[in-house]
Each structure stands twice: as structure tokens, then as C-alpha cells.
């Protein structure tokens, strides 16, 4: 009995609701537009009631093929990109494409140089050393060359460490030591860019006149610079710089400028471009780096063990007279006519 009594107020409430229901219905009928046969103002129609779709039809994974950029209320504009699926493309480049490009280009060049060395050996001065020296590069020129060269080597090595060290060096030295190495590498890479650019500008100013293409370059190129004939006595005519050296000059200058521009874009994020621009800058920077490293390997080879007497030009600043006659006859004759050749009457035997 006490149970039923407890329900009494609830029952009374329900009864009151039942009684009130017709009154509520009446209020609804008196709504706007109800008098004119139920027409509703345009735009206010309620959608026809539909059956609830089953939850299984709700799409959870929506396509995200394009970059989505919106608006932000916080000041960091770079965060307005909601999704950038291009990151996957960049990942594929960094983890696969670049390995192939850099591997083939750099290791391939090393293998080609080794093969060339075995085939041709060191290219000798045909008539031997005369022990008479012709000035070739003055102090400023050598300063420009070695500033660029040393910073390039630093840039190349540190770049290779950061790019490939995870796969080659972490297994050898462990995570902590490699982080220390790559931290130093990153800073060295950033700072070496300054002397690199200085040397680049200096070289451009000093040597651009001697590196303009001439007709003789065609002859040089046609004969491959005489490098590929084992008949060592053949040397195509050339001026101060032969076509190969001019090629190196322009590749270093133009490649260096491209490396500098893309490098600055990567070093100063968001000053120049957003994330897409930085991805492109990295791709250009990485591919050009691989190509320039390969080219400079060839340059180092021919300037050291590849050719007798070549290193003196950048080492001492002077070259052997016989080397100058054999490799840069046009330049040598111009030097002699200008009175910059060794004192007359000291010609050693066999120089003719």
C-alpha cells in the first residue's frame, strides 16, 4: 500500500499533462500562417522527416588529396595550412629518390674516376719538368679558390652526415654521439655558407673574363680535352682556362648561387615561402648538392693525382713552364709576350 501511495503525485502530474495536451495543441494551431491553409514563409520549411541512416553508412575516412588552407585567429600564419598531403611526396623524395640520385651520382663518379685512373694513370708532363716557373694564380685568386674550396668541403661533408648519417653512422656510434655530431654539422653547415658565398663572389669577379666561351672551346670539347686518348702528347689548344675548366667555373657559380638561394630559404623558415616552397627548395638543394659533389670530385682528381704539375697552380700559384706550354699554350704565349715569363736565356735543355 505505501508503494501505491508514493506513486500518487506522479499519477496526478501525468493526469495534469493529459489535460493540458489539447490546450498545447491549440496554441500550435494559432501559429503564423496556420490560418491560410498551412503555407510557410520560403526558406522556413522543415525538411521531410527521413529515416535515420544506420551508423555504418557514416564516412569516417574522407578523401584528403589537396592542400587545405583556412583562416586562423592566432598570429602564426604558417599554421593556416590544415592538411598538406604533399608531405608524403617529400618523404618519398627524402627517403628513396634522393638515396638513388646521390648514390648513383656520387658513388658512380668515384667508380668512374678510379676506372679512369687505372686506365690512364697520372697524366705526365710530356717533356718533363723544366723547373722554370710561370706565375698563374696570385694570392687573391688562391684565397678566393681555397675559401670556396674549404667551405664547400665542409658543406658537403656536413650535408652528407645530416642526410645519410642516420643509416650509416647511428649503427656505428649510437644515438647520443650522432646527435652531437649532427648538431655540430648543422651549425657548421649554416656558418660555412658565409665564406662559401664570399669566395663565390670573389671568384666570379676575378675570373669571369677568362671564362667567357671562345671558339677554341669547341675544339677542346670535340677532343674531350685530350683526356680520353692514351696518346699523351695531344693537347687541344686553350687559353688561360680550357673548356673543362670553364664548365667547372660556370657550374660552380650558377650551382653555387642556386645552392645559396635555396639554402637561405631553408635556413630562414617562412621568411620567403611556406612549407611547399621549402619542400621544393630542399629538393633542388639536395639534387644540386649531389651533382656538385660529384663534379668537384672530378675537379679534385684532375687537380691532384690525375695530372702532374696541375696542383702547383693553386698550391704555389706558379706552374711549370712545360706544363703551361702543353696545357695552356695560348695563355702561356700571352704571358710571355707581356713579359711575365721567366727571365730569358735560362731555358733548360730539351724545352723545345
Amino acid at each position: 500500500m505505501p508503494r501505491i501511495r508514493a506513486f500518487a503525485p506522479v499519477a496526478a502530474f501525468l493526469l495534469a499533462l493529459l489535460l493540458a495536451a489539447p490546450a498545447l495543441a491549440q496554441v500550435e494551431v494559432e501559429g503564423p500562417g496556420a490560418g491560410e491553409g498551412g503555407t510557410v514563409a520560403p526558406g522556413l520549411e522543415l525538411p521531410a522527416p527521413e529515416a535515420e541512416p544506420p551508423a555504418a553508412d557514416v564516412q569516417l575516412y574522407m578523401p584528403e588529396e589537396d592542400q587545405l588552407i583556412g583562416r586562423l585567429t592566432i598570429p602564426n600564419r604558417s599554421l593556416a595550412t590544415l592538411v598538406q598531403p604533399e608531405g608524403r611526396t617529400w618523404r618519398a623524395f627524402r627517403m628513396e629518390t634522393l638515396f638513388w640520385i646521390a648514390g648513383i651520382v656520387i658513388l658512380g663518379t668515384l667508380a668512374a674516376l678510379a676506372a679512369f685512373y687505372f686506365w690512364r694513370g697520372t697524366i705526365r708532363i710530356d717533356r718533363g719538368r723544366s723547373d722554370r716557373w710561370v706565375p698563374r694564380f696570385n694570392g687573391l685568386e688562391r684565397f678566393a679558390h681555397w675559401t670556396t674550396a674549404l667551405s664547400f668541403i665542409a658543406l658537403a661533408l656536413t650535408g652528407l652526415i645530416v642526410t645519410f648519417g642516420r643509416f650509416l653512422l647511428i649503427p656505428l656510434m649510437g644515438h647520443d654521439a650522432f646527435t652531437a655530431t649532427s648538431e655540430v654539422s648543422k651549425n657548421l653547415h649554416n656558418f660555412s655558407s658565409v665564406p662559401f658565398v664570399l669566395g663565390l663572389v670573389l671568384m666570379l669577379a676575378l675570373w669571369i673574363r677568362d671564362n667567357l666561351p671562345t671558339r677554341a672551346d669547341l675544339v677542346w670539347l670535340k677532343h674531350g680535352g685530350g683526356m680520353f686518348s692514351r696518346n699523351a702528347s695531344f693537347h687541344p689548344e686553350s687559353g688561360r682556362f680550357n673548356a673543362g675548366q670553364k664548365g667547372i667555373f660556370w657550374a660552380v657559380v650558377l650551382g653555387g648561387i642556386a645552392m645559396t638561394v635555396t639554402g637561405i630559404m631553408l635556413m630562414t623558415p617562412f621568411y620567403v615561402t611556406g612549407v611547399s616552397g621549402m619542400q621544393i627548395a630542399h629538393v633542388v638543394h639536395a639534387i644540386l648538392a649531389a651533382l656538385m659533389i660529384a663534379m668537384i670530385l672530378g675537379h679534385i682528381y684532375i687537380g691532384t693525382i690525375g695530372m702532374e704539375g696541375a696542383f702547383d697552380a693553386m698550391g704555389k700559384g706558379e706552374v711549370d713552364e712545360n706544363w703551361a706550354i702543353e696545357h695552356h699554350r695560348g695563355w702561356y704565349e700571352a704571358q710571355r709576350d707581356a713579359g711575365r715569363q721567366p727571365a730569358p736565356g735560362t731555358r733548360p735543355a730539351g724545352a723545345d
Binding site: 535515420e52 557514416v58 574522407m62 586562423l72 617529400w90 627517403m95 635556413m267 630562414t268
Partner: protein
Amino acid sequence: MARMKFLCDSERCIECNACVTACKNEHEVPWGINRRRVVTLNDGQPGERSISMACMHCDDAPCAAVCPVDCFYQTADGVVLHSKDLCIGCGYCFYACPFGAPQYPRTTNFGGRGKMDKCTFCAGGPEEDLTPIEYQKYGTNRLAEGKLPLCAEMCSTRALMAGDGEVLAELYTDRAARRGYGSGAWGWSTAYVADQPGTYAPGGRPIGES
């Protein structure tokens, strides 16, 4: 074990930025860094919607793949974390991340990048749980305290949800079915390998594809 995910229901997000503020305050993140942000698409136009976005803690995390020093790891809950002791601030993870999650304080030379900071799913980092050093480097470790990320806990409309991905998917599909419309789980097709056949759209990655 639960697979922790975020899900932002853009039909519910009112762009109040409480998640952004809560995150900044909870973790005392460095100046200029926003681990989470709210992006409004089609602002002022039909179809306008706001989405709260942070690190999505991807299945096959691109940041971890491209990192030169291998500083990322994934916890048993699927949370992608990184070690600031190993990070060198190179920016690679930012290029690869589809969601723009990695951020760098401008502390180094040339205005370049300091050590990367990103959403930790309120799970700290490789330091010992709930230590001052962990807090200083990575922010609070709410997961270790048995709590979920503060951004989602703070969300007034329950637009942003954090937790076990399966539970979130169920909640969301239920909601969307009840409402009759929805725009999907933002970022899921990019971040996760669809775990059920038929639950991915053309942009999504089917099972077995990484």
C-alpha cells in the same frame, strides 16, 4: 591496448579556441609555438567549418621516417613522441608532416630553428614520468596521471575528442547518423591506415598499405 587518437567533429566546433588556450597554459609551451590550433575553412561562406588540429599521432608517422637523428618513437598507446635531447632542429619533420604539427622556437642563429616542439597527447616524453625535467621539456604528462588530453577535456561542445580510436569512431558515427550529416574525421585518412574495410574514402589508405 587502446590506440589513442584525436577526432574533431567540425559540425560541432565553434572556433572558441579553448583547446588552443588550454594546451598553451597546461604545458607552458615556448613563446610563438602553438601545439594545437583551430583552422576555419571557407570562412564567411556557405560550408564554413572550423577544425581543431594538432599532431594526429599517425600510424606510420612521416616525421619519424624522415628524422635524420631518429629521435621519434611511438608508445604502446600509439602516441608519437620525440626526444628533445636528440633533436637538432633541422626542420625535416615539418616538411614531411601533413598537419604542420612540428614547431620550432626561434632561438638559433639566422632566426633558424631550435629544438622541435609538438603535441604530446599530454603524454610527456622520454624522461621519467611526472618529473620536473619532463614537464620543463615536454609539458605535463596527463596520461601518466590517468587523464586524457586537456584540449579535448576542455572542449565545451565536445567537438574535439581524444581517446581510444575505436571508441571515438563509434561516438562520431553514432552522432553523425543521429544528425543525418557529417564531414568525417578530419585528418584520419591521412594519418591512419583504415582499420575496417569500407571505412576509407578514395584519399584514405586501405589496410596493408603504408
